[in-house]
């Protein structure tokens, strides 16, 4: 493909935020805050604008040819191991690029207000820009290794931003935890990459990059025998990044970071990287029904598991965090049942309303003088009108109320789960949807209704946030409202434009399946058939989930706004054990601590270091061999007595013996 201006643009989408980060990072406090903020927002803004440009260009191309690529240089080139430093754009990552830079831009603007008084203002924006750079590398990377670069990069930024206020040891610990748990996932990712590389290498033609997505897709047939192992390893990576069971534990702790960070990284963009990766590798995942099942089951389990925990949390951000984990579970579920497009659809809508909710909560926290406990909030509806209204939109969208964004994507996921033939998965998702509505209403009621329970001093300071903060809220609210309309499904008379847009990316996977298995009953085929035959069922399910969502909201309202006794009763139910179980997040952290961390530490310190290193190797082997020498040399030791005359005598004896030997041997 000849080099085209739009293709060169791809690298600048990635590089401009890096330049912003470099400027902010290197100049740091020498830069006035206004300049710094402008620079950072400008960088992301440029990136966003460029994304739109290339998106439009992509949209202008014929469907089958929608692909742009920009090879900067060879990165690792050694023998047949050729990996390019390259970027590519297809419909899938075009969507992701728009979401990341768009939402990222809004959050940058929001941060201008939120972080205005922070001493580390420049550092914050440096990190934030760095994050956009890493995320765009992840999204636009042309091959798996570039994706991995971004993958690690966003992990790093997440680490830096979570422990941004490192004065508090807990924040630092949370950041470290996030990084390390992600590293465990990366471990799987790396191995998955190795397996792919080793498997595909013999089949590569000349000039084909080793881990390039296009090449891999082309050689998917060769990868088929190893597909299950590869997919499970890659999925381990995804569970780390997208906070799925069993590696979800870092995300709630990650709320220690500044709220815009939670919105950007831990809700809208980075955590969806796992979903993106699974969708990106769809051509492999569809080859392995077993892996797909694992993805779906883990997704569904995470969805319900996190939703139940969210029921009992008192920290406003923790509720949202568990909600995020739960929603990520939905996305995985979608991918697992083969509905990658729907999963990505939910990524997009979720990015809108979850970013909105987080920013809204940030606005609340800002108003409440950095208080995050909902038990001391309440009655903020009047005092924070913009926040309240936008928050309401976000809540409804998340609860899946028609016609907001969340409805379309979540409903699609549930429908695909249902039509995939596994009704249990659907049922789990369905229950979790109700729980979602319930806990969101609980959050809403505790925060915005009733009497304010804060101390008078805090109460005095409550005020609506500045324009830089409310404007992004409004924009995101609008997006949450209308964002789902691009994907109105066929049965409602919509065009399912979103799915169609992504069709070229995921169709490839289906073709691979057909090629590999020769079967026609692939997910795509089944879904397409269902569209024509089963619209009644779709209507019923859609209605049911809408009603179920409303019911959840209503129940939440009743329990928390009207009859708090019910909540109290639930707390004491069965001796209070279930409640405590939920409140302590099923004791997962404690279990990990007790099974891995503490024994590992003990093992290292006592056994490995003190016993093996100092005791066995140094004590017995090294100094022991010295002891052997000493025992043997207890005789020799006499010789080493420092007496010159003794040495002289030794020489005479030696010479004498030598002379004797010469005489008698000759």
């Amino acid at each position: 493909m000849e080099s085209h201006a739009n293709e060169i643009l791809l690298r600048w989408i990635v590089l401009v935020p890096l330049l912003g980060a470099a400027a902010n990072g290197l100049l740091n406090r020498r830069l006035p805050k206004q300049v710094s903020g402008l620079l950072a927002c400008g960088a992301v803004g440029v990136s966003f604008a460029l994304s739109i440009v290339v998106f439009l260009r992509l949209a202008g191309m014929p469907v089958a040819e929608r692909f742009l690529s920009d090879t900067v240089t060879t990165w690792i080139g050694f023998g047949r191991l050729q990996v390019d430093l390259a970027f590519a754009l297809d419909p899938l990552n075009a969507v992701m690029a728009l979401v990341v830079t768009g939402v990222g831009f809004l959050i940058h603007v929001y941060s201008l207000g939120y972080m205005a008084h922070d001493a580390g203002f420049q550092r914050f924006f440096a990190y934030l820009n760095l994050f956009i750079f890493a995320m765009m590398t992840l999204v636009l990377g042309e091959n798996l290794l570039m994706l991995f670069v971004g993958w690690e990069g966003v992990g790093l930024c997440s680490y830096l931003l979570i422990s941004f206020w490192f004065n508090d040891e807990a924040n630092a610990a949370a950041g470290k935890k996030a990084f390390i748990v992600n590293r465990i996932g990366d471990f799987g990712f790396l191995l998955g990459m190795f397996l792919i590389g080793v498997t595909v290498l013999p089949h590569l033609g000349a000039g084909e990059g080793l881990l390039s997505f296009r090449v891999l897709q082309h050689h998917a047939g060769a990868l088929a025998p190893a597909a299950t192992a590869i997919c499970l390893l890659l999925f381990l990576g995804a569970t780390g990044k997208s906070a799925q069971i069993p590696l979800f534990i870092w995300l709630p702790d990650a709320m220690a970071g500044p709220t815009p960070v939670s919105a950007l990284i831990h809700a809208a963009t980075m955590v969806t990287a796992g979903v993106y990766m699974v969708a990106r590798m769809n051509f492999l995942f569809v080859l392995s029904p077993a892996a797909m099942n694992v993805v779906a089951i883990v997704g569904a389990a995470t969805a319900i598991f996190a939703a139940t925990i969210a029921l009992t949390q008192n920290d406003i951000k923790k509720v949202l965090a568990y909600s995020t984990v739960s929603q990520l579970g939905y996305m995985m579920l979608a991918c697992g049942v083969g509905a990658f497009a729907v999963g990505i659809f939910h990524v997009m809508t979720h990015a809108f309303f979850k970013a909105l909710l987080f920013l809204g909560s940030g606005s609340v926290i800002h108003a409440m003088s950095n208080e995050q406990d909902m038990r001391v909030m309440g009655g903020l509806r009047k005092k924070l009108p913009v926040t309240w209204w936008t928050f309401l939109v976000g809540t409804l969208a998340l609860a899946g109320i028609f016609p907001l964004a969340g409805f379309f994507s979540k409903d699609e996921i549930l429908w695909k789960a249902f039509s995939s033939g596994n009704q249990v998965l659907w049922a789990i998702g369905f229950v979790a949807a109700g729980l979602t509505a319930f806990y969101m209403m609980r959050l809403l009621v505790l925060t915005f209704f009733g009497e304010n329970r804060a101390s008078p001093e805090v109460k005095h300071h409550i005020h609506e946030s500045p324009l830089t903060m409310t404007l992004p809220l409004v924009v995101l609210a609008v997006l949450s409202l209308v964002g789902g309309w691009v994907g109105i499904p066929h049965f409602m008379g919509g065009g399912a434009h979103f799915e169609q847009w992504l069709e070229p990316v995921f169709a490839g996977g289906h073709h691979v399946v057909e090629a590999a298995h020769g079967a026609a009953d692939a997910a795509h085929g089944a879904a397409a058939d269902a569209v024509h035959h089963d619209t009644t069922m779709e209507w019923i399910l859609a209605g049911a989930s809408l009603a179920w969502g409303i019911l959840g909201l209503l129940l939440g309202w009743l329990v928390y706004a009207r009859r708090l006794g019910v909540a109290e009763g639930a707390r004491r139910l069965a001796g209070g054990f279930p409640y405590r179980l939920l409140e302590h997040k099923y004791y997962v952290d404690e279990a990990y601590e007790a099974t891995f961390i503490r024994p590992g530490y003990r093992l290292s310190k006592t056994v490995l270091w003190k016993w093996i290193d100092a005791g066995l190797i140094d004590g017995i082997l090294v100094n022991g061999s010295a002891l052997v020498v000493a025992v043997v040399g207890s005789v020799v030791r006499l010789f080493q007595n420092g007496m010159v005359r003794f040495y002289a005598w030794s020489i005479t004896v030696g010479v004498t013996v030598f002379v004797l030997y010469l005489c008698f041997s000759g």
Partner: protein
């Protein structure tokens, strides 16, 4: 004549050696050593090596031993002389004695077996005269001669370096 001189010089030389070793006082040891060296010069003379004999007296007796005596005097003789302690613990004497005795026995046995060896023949004209030695020294052995001069130079520098007080050295 030669025989008498040999026995005389040889016996006195061994006596000088033994006295050197056995005298407690370092000064007296040194004097006995000088005596032994002079006798050794006699031996050299008997062996047709007049130049070496002269050099033995000049260099050894005149230079090296004077140096020894000088040092002994400098180091406060009395301190050196008080080898009051026994030289060796009694049980160790056999250990010291065995190697020399073994060598002597060996030499004795060797002579008994193979007999003595005569010099035989005559030496060339001017053998051992300064001119002959000089010809060798500056001809065949010129390289060794030069090397020895370097050895001496190094020794001079080394002795200076060691002897001078540490902080006065140029590089300290």
């Amino acid at each position: 004549m030669e025989t008498i001189l040999f026995w005389l010089c040889g016996a006195l030389m061994v006596l000088g050696g033994v006295m050197t070793v056995t005298q407690r006082s370092a000064v007296i040891s040194a004097v006995w050593l000088i005596f032994a060296f002079v006798c050794a010069a006699g031996i050299f003379a008997i062996l047709d090596a007049p130049f070496v004999a002269i050099m033995q007296v000049l260099v050894y007796v005149g230079a090296i031993m004077v140096l020894f005596l000088f040092v002994i005097m400098m180091l406060q003789g009395p301190v050196l002389d008080n080898e009051k302690r026994r030289l060796l613990k009694l049980p160790l004497w056999p250990a010291v004695a065995i190697p020399p005795v073994a060598v002597l026995v060996l030499v004795g046995g060797w002579i008994r077996r193979t007999g003595t060896r005569d010099f035989g023949g005559t030496v060339p004209e001017g053998f051992g005269q300064p001119a002959a030695v000089a010809e060798l020294l500056l001809g065949r052995y010129l390289l060794a001669f030069e090397l020895v001069s370097i050895v001496l130079l190094v020794a001079i520098v080394g002795a200076l370096a060691i002897g001078k007080e540490a902080r006065k050295l140029p590089w300290k």
